[in-house]
């Protein structure tokens, strides 16, 4: 019970302490709000995490939990006219939220780059693959067209496009889905980025191609020692690539920790729900999945208190606190943070006795 008491008061126990930035990417209390006619959309509401070079962080959650907004926010793709961004983003010691748009633009595509989901709509239909890669390379490097073309061909070869010297002149619609995603990756790698953000990089692809793309990303990470953020709702992808995991819900982190802890000792009921929704090859087909009841909340009207309490099977155990107090993200053991009102012993007991057997 003593830990339950510290839960309510511990505002200092968030993922990053007040000291100077030490990690390569250090995101602190990031908030991205969009004023709309219907009200303020709190897409990201106080998110903190760190990623080191050579490490991968997975951000998981349902649609509309703020995953993609987080990544676009890090890239600085929101402007002051339509979004309110606050908090801190330190990239290699440089703070990005307060930096000028031009300064962030200079980093974009160069030091940090992004792989988008759905490469067909993310590549310009009227320009050749090569042209688009060359463009990305030439914005940040003063090289001739011929040199940029060499670079584009080399990148396409690197990501496994056959006959890259010929395919470089193809248009996106002439590529297959997997090849488009490879081309997208080639484009994002053109300037050897130190931070690579992949937004659902495999969602639009079939399973065999998914595995190839994930392998490719891991290889490239080893080669360039870059930090990777993978945004996904596919826990299979998480298991494959991630070192750390942030579980997001309604713009907040519900649980944050090492991938092993998240998979084998998850402490948040929402994480249990996500894990219970995964189809498993090693289970009987007669066993039902355990979906999370209900829908994600509107980000304009996030429920008061714990945003998950409406859908939580165990919310009522907190005696009304879940409807009034927003739980803080609290360290429950080294490197494992959970935002839940349930007393830690109770949480672990429920997981051990009721949830683990079903997963």
């Amino acid at each position: 019970m003593s830990e339950a008491g510290s839960n309510g008061a511990a505002s200092s126990g968030s993922a990053s302490s007040g000291s100077g930035p030490s990690a390569f990417l250090d995101v602190r209390d990031l908030r991205i709000h969009f004023p709309t006619d219907d009200g303020l959309v709190r897409a990201v509401d106080g998110l903190s995490f760190t990623v080191e070079r050579g490490q991968s962080l997975a951000i998981v959650g349902e649609s509309g939990s703020g995953k993609s907004v987080t990544s676009l926010g890090i890239l600085g793709l929101y402007n002051k006219r339509n979004a309110k961004v606050s908090g801190e983003i330190h990239l290699d010691g440089q703070e990005l939220v307060s930096a000028s748009p031009d300064a962030v633009r200079a980093l974009r595509g160069q030091k940090m780059s992004m792989i988008f989901q759905d490469p067909l709509s993310s590549l310009h239909p009227y320009y050749t693959i090569g042209w688009q890669i060359m463009e990305a390379y030439r914005v940040h490097n003063h090289v001739s067209k011929a040199q940029a073309r060499e670079r584009a061909i080399e990148l396409l070869r690197r990501v496994g496009i056959p006959q890259p010297d010929k395919r470089v002149d193809d248009y996106p619609h002439q590529f297959s889905g997997g090849m488009r995603q490879r081309a997208m990756i080639a484009m994002s790698l053109s300037c050897n980025p130190e931070l690579l953000i992949a937004d659902e990089p495999t969602t639009a692809l079939d399973v065999t191609v998914q595995a190839q793309i994930l392998d490719l990303m891991k290889d490239l990470q080893q080669e360039f020692n870059s930090a990777i953020i993978v945004i996904t709702h596919d826990l299979g992808v998480v298991a494959e690539v991630a070192d750390d995991v942030v579980v997001m819900y309604a713009g907040r982190a519900m649980e944050y920790g090492k991938v092993g802890d998240i998979f084998y000792e998850p402490e948040h009921p929402y994480t249990w729900g996500l894990l219970g929704s995964v189809t498993r090859m090693d289970r009987e087909r007669t066993e039902r999945l355990l979906p999370i009841p209900g829908n994600p909340p509107s980000l304009i009207n996030v429920p008061p208190g714990c945003p998950f309490h409406v859908r939580c099977r165990y919310g009522h155990l907190n005696g009304g606190k879940e409807r009034e107090v927003v739980p803080d993200l609290t360290e429950t053991k080294p490197g494992h943070y959970v935002a839940c009102h349930l007393p830690i012993e109770e949480r672990r007991r429920i997981f051990r006795d009721e949830v683990a057997t079903l997963l």
Binding site: L72, L75, L77, R105, A106, L107, R108, G109, Q110, S113, M114, F116, D118, S121, S122, L123, H124, P125, Y126, Y127, T128, E135, A136, V139, H140, Y171, H173, M187
Partner: protein
């Protein structure tokens, strides 16, 4: 591609052939409906029966309609001799017959009025294309600004106001009241290019106002849609300047549909801008065709219809071919 164009050209010929056949039906239908003979239409007021007979023989009006049509087609390709013993006229290919009203070859009538229509249409088209797309792009980039609202308000007026209103307002103010461009009339470009342009300025502006309004709205809508596309986000994520994102990425995609309607609008306008021609008193294809209808000048109606159809069909073809160059996803085989 060449094969595709060739096939489309054959279709153009077939289509014009069908249009000519259908239109040729007026030679049969109109006299029947008005209870006159075609020859009487040609002969003018109170003809003697001898004149009518002579005309019937000369133009072969007693032949069955299919035979008459055959002679017409023959005339288009190899020319035609009208022989009535005493009077004999040669009509060189391409022969579309003679006007009932002034006995001038229809081909000559049309080709003499065509420069007026072409001058009006092309000048106005350049004007509206530039103005319309520029305003549309600026409006989209400054969405909900004062400029956007003002421009879209004016555009709404432009789309709604008929050309004879804008045209007359322009004429009364600029030509008559302020005497800036007095005495508007058509001057051939070969005679005096400067005078040509000056006299065409008002028709250009009134036509362009109508179309530019439409194009501004279309461009704005296309631009807003494009700016929300994923590939625009990709362009920004590459670290491109906003200028380049708009200029190279957004504009390219937003303007593609404009190519289509531009071709069709221009093709249609080349077939005659009736209201504009009337408003400014210019004698182009449009006025020629309306006058011909009032006078039941059947050969001229037929000729003008064929010309208008030709422009529209060719514009369609050019648009389709152009599209393959603009949008790499379009390939004809």
């Amino acid at each position: 591609m060449l094969q595709y164009i060739a096939r489309r050209l054959i279709l153009v010929v077939v289509l014009l052939w069908i249009v000519s056949m259908v239109t040729f039906g007026i030679f049969f239908l109109i006299p029947k409906a008005t209870h006159t003979s075609t020859a009487a239409l040609f002969a003018g007021k109170a003809p003697t029966s001898d004149t009518i007979k002579e005309i019937e023989v000369k133009f072969g009006l007693n032949d069955p309609i299919p035979v008459q049509y055959w002679h017409f087609v023959e005339g288009v390709f190899v020319g035609r001799d009208y022989d009535a013993g005493a009077s004999r006229d040669h009509c060189p290919a391409p022969c579309l017959g003679f006007s009932f009203v002034n006995n001038v070859p229809v081909w000559q009538e049309i080709t003499s009025d065509l420069p007026v229509t072409i001058s009006m249409a092309i000048g106005a088209a350049i004007l509206w294309l530039l103005a319309g797309t520029a305003i549309g792009v600026l409006s989209a980039l400054r969405r909900r600004s004062f400029f956007d609202r003002a421009a879209m308000g004016v555009a709404l007026a432009g789309v709604s106001l008929p050309i004879y209103f804008t045209g007359l307002v322009l004429l009364s103010l600029i030509s008559y009241k302020w005497n800036i461009l007095p005495n508007v009339h058509y001057v051939g470009i070969t005679q005096n290019p400067l005078s040509w342009a000056r006299n065409l300025l008002l028709p250009w502006i009134s036509l362009a106002f109508l179309y530019a309004a439409l194009y501004a709205r279309l461009t704005r809508a296309g631009m807003l849609e494009t700016l929300g596309e994923d590939y625009i986000r990709t362009a920004r994520a590459k670290g491109l300047s906003e200028q380049r994102v708009i200029g190279r990425h957004a504009l390219r995609a937003a303007l593609t549909p404009i190519v289509t309607i531009f071709g069709l609008d221009l093709g249609q306008l080349l077939g005659g801008a009736i209201l504009t021609e009337y408003t400014f008193g210019f004698v182009g294809i449009g006025k020629l065709s309306v006058d011909a209808i009032f006078r039941q000048d059947l050969p001229v109606i037929l000729g003008v219809t064929l010309f208008a159809a030709f422009f529209i069909v060719m514009a369609n073809l050019i648009v389709d071919v152009l599209y393959a160059f603009v949008d790499p996803r379009v390939r004809y085989s």
